[in-house]
């Protein structure tokens, strides 16, 4: 029996700000437990929240990057439930007037499974801003709570149930992550808890309009597990339905080690969160002036940047795609080109040589020892034949090690440009010294030219430009 798969994702993204959402405690991870806290985020008696303007701005920015309708009037609401990681036993969130309404993202390319992913638009229902909760560590009979994370600004991005395959879900997450990174909104590192994802998946007999039972999957630690969990549960659900069984709305946890999901709880209708407008916070009126100010801060999307790279720099789409996948790499490339480097050569050097060295040294491009200016100097020198390809490789290695610029490295390595008259001398010497290869070349043996070029290179101790050497040899040979 064929089934339609309906997938919706609920993604929580921590907003990168200097401070928490309602207090001025630092917003960062890795600190000693319960040290990034104050009376406000601990929910002490008598405290009041003050919203972080930057958190609101970045949420609106996220919405603009996903083409969401931004609310003219928005507010915070209290969502009540009891849990020890929630200091106030209510979460200050947004209920009926979120900052961002309907929007969408585009997905395309090759899916995670390797199959082609036709271009599709995945709808976003809303993006709202809320506070994160503390972290519980469970020890069997008891648990320990660390409130450092309580109050970190958190965006909740709810997708429309538009996805129909694990590949689409994976692509959606990738595009979302890219947008958040591009916007400087979040690094979306799931290992650091900066992005959390819950999945809703239901199956229905193909063609039927009525939706099947919605199964929620939690405890997904990576985009890969999202893909795995979806594949696994779609199979599981299909098997149940095939066997004539019934599926009930429930929440399941995903065990990545086992590769299986397990029952957590039944969802009997919605929890009564008793939402009401947060009386301690004043509403937000987002007027046109403020909205346009934020809109001007929207960075170029990865797709638009890719297309622009192709058009502006005349590089292949493949190159543009690789360079724009990560914003820092794209930034580095443009800086290099703006410093005078030829576009295609710069692209090659970055994509191949630089990325390899950075990867081996485990250094992000933002901390590259070779600055865009230095790389531009190198690539320009190659293009103008100021240095040879061979020399370039040596210079590159030294640049990476020392961080020095071109002239300094040339001096250190004693790199000299050989001029044509010198090459002509070596060429004549090589011709004189090697009559046999000369004769063979004149008979049409191209390989003999390589030998002669090699002789010139040897004489020059590798410093001659091989293309020049070849050209000059041919000239000289033509003379006789």
């Amino acid at each position: 029996m064929k089934y339609d798969v309906v997938i919706g994702l609920e993604v929580h993204v921590q907003v990168q700000t200097a401070t928490k959402i309602f207090c001025r405690c630092p917003n960062r991870s890795g600190a000693e437990p319960n040290t990034l806290i104050c009376p406000v985020c601990m929910g002490y008696p008598g405290v009041l929240p003050v919203p972080n303007r930057e958190a609101v701005r970045k949420t609106i920015l996220a919405g603009l990057m996903c083409d969401c309708k931004i609310a003219e009037y928005s507010k915070f609401d209290r969502k009540s439930y009891f849990y020890p990681d929630m200091p106030k036993n209510f979460q200050t969130s947004q209920y009926d007037l979120p900052l961002c309404g309907r929007g969408y993202v585009q997905i395309a390319g090759i899916g995670f499974s390797g199959e082609e992913l036709p271009a599709a638009e995945i709808g976003i229902t809303r993006i709202h801003l809320e506070e994160d909760v503390g972290k519980s560590t469970h020890f069997g009979e008891y648990s320990g709570i660390d409130y450092n994370r309580a109050g970190v600004p958190l965006m909740e991005i709810v997708s429309e149930p538009d996805m129909t395959s694990p590949d689409q879900a994976y692509a959606y997450l990738t595009v979302l992550k890219q947008a958040m990174q591009y916007g400087g909104i979040s690094d979306c590192d799931m290992e650091k808890g900066q992005l959390r994802c819950d999945v809703n998946v239901s199956l229905k007999p193909a063609g039927r309009t009525e939706l099947g039972a919605k199964i929620e999957l939690k405890n997904l630690n990576s985009f890969k597990s999202v893909h795995r969990a979806l594949e696994s549960d779609i199979e599981r659900q299909a098997a149940v339905l095939d066997g004539g069984g019934e599926l009930l709305q429930e929440t399941r946890g995903w065990d990545d080690d086992l590769g299986d999901s397990y029952f957590l709880r039944r969802k009997e209708g919605d929890d009564d969160y008793r939402y009401f407008p947060e009386p301690d916070l004043m509403p937000m009126a987002i007027d046109n002036a403020w909205l346009e100010e934020i809109r001007a801060q929207v960075p170029e999307t990865p797709e638009k940047r890719r297309d622009r790279f192709v058009a502006q720099y005349s590089i292949p789409e493949y190159d543009a795609g690789v360079l724009t996948a990560d914003r820092p790499v794209a930034d580095y490339y443009e800086e290099t080109v703006n410093a005078g480097a030829p576009a295609k050569k710069a692209s090659n050097w970055i994509m191949v040589e630089l990325m390899r060295e950075l990867s081996q040294a485990n250094v992000p491009i933002t901390e590259s020892p070779i600055s865009p200016t230095a790389l531009a100097q190198l690539v320009t020198a190659i293009e103008s034949a100021d240095i040879t390809g061979r020399q370039a490789k040596d210079i590159f290695v030294d640049m990476f090690k020392t961080g020095n610029d071109l002239e300094t490295v040339k001096a250190t390595l004693n790199i000299v440009k050989t001029d044509d008259s010198e090459i002509r001398n070596w060429a004549r010497q090589a011709i004189t010294a090697n009559p046999k290869p000369v004769a063979e070349f004149k008979e049409g043996n191209e390989k003999s030219m390589n030998f002669l070029v090699g002789q010139v290179m040897k004489a020059s101790r590798g410093n001659a430009n091989p293309q020049s050497a070849r050209q000059i040899l041919i000239e000289e040979l033509g003379k006789s």
Partner: protein
């Protein structure tokens, strides 16, 4: 609107995480029903087209700047906590997952 309202004090007390004794539940049931009866007169007021007043002032866009401020010493926080763990965490009894553990 009024007629189908019936408060069950014990159910509501559960939502509010307050455990009432049997006597309290009975007493509160009567008292709160009486109060609700009084509040019932609000249903007669014509509120057509009236906006709700969630705040006493009409201010909007109150924000703080994203600049770090002072924190609390961990000692002050742990000192106030009834039970702590390893001098760094606040200790709570085990959670029995019952469908309303607020996990994100």
């Amino acid at each position: 609107m009024a007629s189908d309202k019936q408060i069950n004090v014990e159910d509501i007390a559960k939502l509010a995480r307050v455990e009432l004794t049997v006597e309290e539940a009975a007493e509160f049931q009567k008292e709160i029903e009486s109060i609700l009866g009084y509040i019932e007169e609000l249903s007669a007021v014509d509120v057509e087209g009236i906006e709700p007043m969630a705040h006493a002032t009409a201010i909007t866009n109150v924000f703080g700047e994203d600049v770090p401020g002072p924190q609390l010493d961990r000692e002050a926080v742990l000192g106030n906590a009834p039970e702590t763990l390893d001098d760094e965490l606040i200790r709570v009894p085990k959670v029995i997952e019952d469908g309303d553990g607020g996990t994100h």
